[in-house]
Amino acid sequence: MAEKVSKKDVVDHGKRDFLSGTTKAFGAAGAACACYPFIKSMSPSAKVEAQKYTEVDLSEIAEGDTKKVIWRGKAVFVKHRTQSEIALAAAGDKTVSIDPQTDAERVKKPEWLVTIAHCTHLGCVPIDGSTENWACPCHGSQFDVSGRVVKGPAPKNLEIPPYEFLDDNTIKIG
């Protein structure tokens, strides 16, 4: 019946046909471009991008206290360290072994530790620890007063976000 349209009826137009090749390439390029807006629509919106920076007023944080702030949807610890904590952090320079880093590399001013408050293992927010400064409630990682990992499973120290001191009492994270 009709479905058996014989082969010889169908002209082989060949892959080297310049016109159909051009048309295909041109159409495919357009189709690829058309995908872009759809994919891009799932990226952070202007509303999210607008929250690139978080300013923190340091005068509100008493010595020894830690404030949790949100920067780009992530929690950030801003810790006002006491003199004894600064000394403790400096002492730790020699003992930390999982991800060795000196305290001086991790702070801009010794009194202020600014660190992302997500465990480098799987992203939970550590809580106050009994032996070390912070302990992760999810899998028990421990972090010292410089945010360095002292006990795994976390593979790395708490991350330091980009930040700068706008003046003595204000930092801008981001």
């Binding site: 002209v11 137009h13 016109l19 159909s20 048309t23 041109f26 159409g27 357009g30 607008a50």
Partner: protein, 239 residues
């Protein structure tokens, strides 16, 4: 069938334009620069419109979808935007709120006053309507029954508008020294409101040219490819 298609096209256009033209009073058309497909938003005009909007409109109306930071997309620098926001004791991320709270508005006018962010899209005629309305306050004609609470406006449907004439000569000190006539202010603020209503307008219009050009070329290529592929069928038919 060709007849059918062309007839349908024509009838569709006729019936939809009949549908769109529902307005009562003919609005005078203004030469808006954003009507050109190549246009960018004019920073200076937006700035002047911003001055009118913030100093006049915002004593009663809000622009709740607009923040000072949005001005950076039309050429304001971060420093300029920060300064403008500080002058209004706002942060660059605060939305433009009306100085009149909804509660006070309800107490005074028995209703919350409309937000102006998308107003130009919410009225037939858009920017032309806004301009016409702001310049359309007049003495009521002889014999027109004007209630005490209303003002006469040539372009408002029914001519009785609750909003008193908002603009007066020289009301705004323009940053660039432009003479603040009512017409100038109406034009600037209508332009500003077009931007607040559809900030994507200029991007959309500029991009559209390239997209349509691309599709046009693609259609031509496809037409010839189609002709080529069908040629053997047509040939066989005429044999």
């Amino acid at each position: 069938m060709k007849k059918l298609l062309s007839l349908l096209t024509v009838l569709t256009l006729v019936s939809t334009s009949a549908l769109a033209a529902g307005g009562s009073v003919e609005l005078p058309k203004q030469p808006w620069s954003f009507q050109s497909v190549k246009a960018d938003w004019e920073k200076d005009k937006i700035y002047r419109g911003y001055q009118v909007a913030t100093q006049v409109c915002m004593s009663c109306h809000g622009f709740k979808y607009i923040k000072h930071r949005d001005l950076m997309k039309v050429g304001f620098t971060e420093a300029e935007v920060k300064k403008l926001a500080e002058e209004m004791e706002m942060s660059v991320m605060d939305t433009f709120k009306s100085a009149l709270s909804d509660e006070d508005a309800i107490a005074a006018y028995a209703k919350a006053l409309p937000d102006l962010s998308v107003m130009n899209k919410a009225r037939p005629g858009g920017a032309d309507y806004t301009y016409a309305l702001l310049t359309g306050y007049k003495e009521a004609p002889e014999g027109f029954n004007l209630p005490d609470t209303g003002s006469y406006n040539e372009y408002f449907p029914g001519h009785v508008i609750a909003m008193p004439a908002p603009l007066a000569e020289g009301q705004v000190d323009y940053f660039d020294g432009t003479n603040a006539t009512v017409k100038q202010m109406a034009s600037d603020v209508a332009y500003f409101m077009q931007w607040t209503a559809e900030p994507e307008l200029t991007t959309r219009q500029q991009l559209g040219v390239y997209v349509l050009l691309y599709v046009f070329i693609l259609a031509i290529l496809l037409y010839f490819t189609k002709k080529r592929i069908w040629s053997d069928i047509k040939r066989k038919d005429t044999e």
